[in-house]
């Protein structure tokens, strides 16, 4: 028998130490979801209505470069969050996201969550702080990757 969403939310590292009332509210916007290996979880330019908390499996964040093909710029692991474009206008995915192996995730309805955060700003702040952590980590990682540390030394 499938676990209920609230239990899945409680298990997921992103929601660790979140008050139970918030978890309950958030679970209301969530549903269980599954992606086959190689399935596209998100496509660049598509409307960003959902974001995902990965439970099992890994997903790649990709950019398509004309003439070069797709480039993986990040691999997301179990316990990580996929997608933040649902937080800011125009609510559009900026990258492709693909399951590189079978992925189980909790999918969250962005509009539903935005609404609940508007109505309960204290919960909204807790949620935002968690997302801020994600932004910081992704930005720091991106900056290190940008440095091309292992590339040929400059003359």
């Amino acid at each position: 028998m499938e676990k209920d969403i609230e239990a899945l939310v409680s298990e997921h590292p992103f929601f660790a130490n979140m008050p139970q009332t918030y978890r309950s509210l958030i679970a209301g916007c969530g549903r269980n979801t599954f992606f086959e290996a190689d399935a596209l979880i998100a496509r660049t330019g598509d409307r960003s209505d959902w974001f995902y908390a990965i439970r099992h499996g890994r997903a790649s964040v990709e950019i398509h470069a004309p003439g070069r093909g797709p480039i993986i710029i990040q691999m997301l692991e179990p316990g990580e969050i996929v997608g933040w474009s649902w937080l800011v206008e125009p609510y559009q995915w900026r990258f492709d996201v693909r399951a590189v192996e079978p992925v189980r995730a909790i999918a969250f309805d962005g509009a539903c969550l935005r609404g609940k955060c508007d109505r309960d700003p204290v919960m909204g702040y807790d949620f935002m702080k968690r997302f801020a952590q994600v932004f910081v980590e992704r930005l720091e990682a991106a900056r290190l990757q940008l440095l091309d540390l292992y590339g040929s030394p400059a003359r």
Binding site: P70, Q74, A141
Partner: protein, 269 residues
């Protein structure tokens, strides 16, 4: 100390600008004993001499192995040395990796060419695997194509080393991690309270890796790095390799990060 002529037995291409040379002594010499983490001064006749870490398996005493990246005139000449060409070897020099990890979890963290000076230590661990707890090798590379020693990784996995690789970018089909090596550190499963870490790579990478290790509560006195500076003599006379009071050639190149941290935090020291 005099450079001794060694013959190139094999020159293997690792990546577009990196090669691994196997050197055997001429003139009926023995290969000098060496420890993982030490380096030799390699001499290209008529061009010059540079410090290069020994990158071979310490249990193999039939040849000296060095992995060299062509970034200047001497390294280019060495990378271009074909089989039977003669390279001068002087050494070994420096303090090697400490023997401090008995019974503990051991994290090797390698960035780019940094895997070369760690490779002898990884081999030494696989030869005596029972002495250690969990052993992780976390490798960062630019792309899968520039990853060094891919053939060894399978062998190491079979000997109980958890080898995890991350690249800065990859084409689809790549199943490893993509992102900086700090992400692998963040997620590494180990007993942080007692673990020991050996870290080598570009200085920025070593710094952020040490910070990530510290966040995991691996004390910086248990984090060891291998430093690099301009070296001419390798014996503490020419003065070029100084970092604060340390001569990298003689007091290092391996250092506990805790002692170095204050010097590395000063710009242009």
């Amino acid at each position: 100390m005099l450079t001794a002529p060694f013959r190139v037995r094999r020159n293997r291409r690792e990546s577009p600008d990196t090669r691994t040379l196997e050197l055997v002594p001429m003139e009926e010499r023995e290969i000098p004993g060496w420890r993982p983490g030490q380096f030799m001064m390699l001499y290209a006749f008529g061009v010059g001499e540079i410090p290069v870490s020994i990158s071979g398996d310490p249990s193999r005493r039939d040849a000296l192995t060095h992995t060299v990246r062509a970034v200047g005139s001497v390294s280019r000449a060495i990378c271009a040395a074909k089989a039977d060409h003669v390279i001068g070897v002087r050494g070994p020099f420096g303090a090697g990796w400490p023997d401090r990890a008995d019974g503990r979890d051991l994290l090797f963290v390698a960035g780019g060419l940094g895997l070369a000076p760690l490779r002898p230590a990884v081999y030494a661990v696989t030869a005596d695997r029972g002495r250690y707890g969990r052993v992780l090798l976390l490798v960062g590379a630019r792309t899968p194509e520039t990853l060094l020693f891919r053939a060894d990784m399978g062998r190491w996995r079979k000997r109980g080393i958890d080898v995890q690789v991350t690249v800065d970018a990859a084409a689809p089909g790549w199943m490893g991690a993509v992102g900086p090596v700090t992400r692998l550190i963040d997620r590494a499963e180990c007993d942080a309270g007692a673990a020991v870490a050996f870290v080598v790579g570009p200085e920025i990478m070593m710094r952020v890796a040490a910070e990530a290790l510290e966040r995991r509560r691996i004390g910086l006195d248990r984090v060891f790095v291998s430093m690099e500076r301009n070296m001419h003599c390798a014996i503490g006379f020419c003065g070029h390799c100084q970092l604060g009071p340390a001569f990298i050639c003689r007091d290092g190149p391996v250092f506990p990060y805790a002692g170095l941290k204050r010097w590395l935090e000063v710009r242009n020291l």
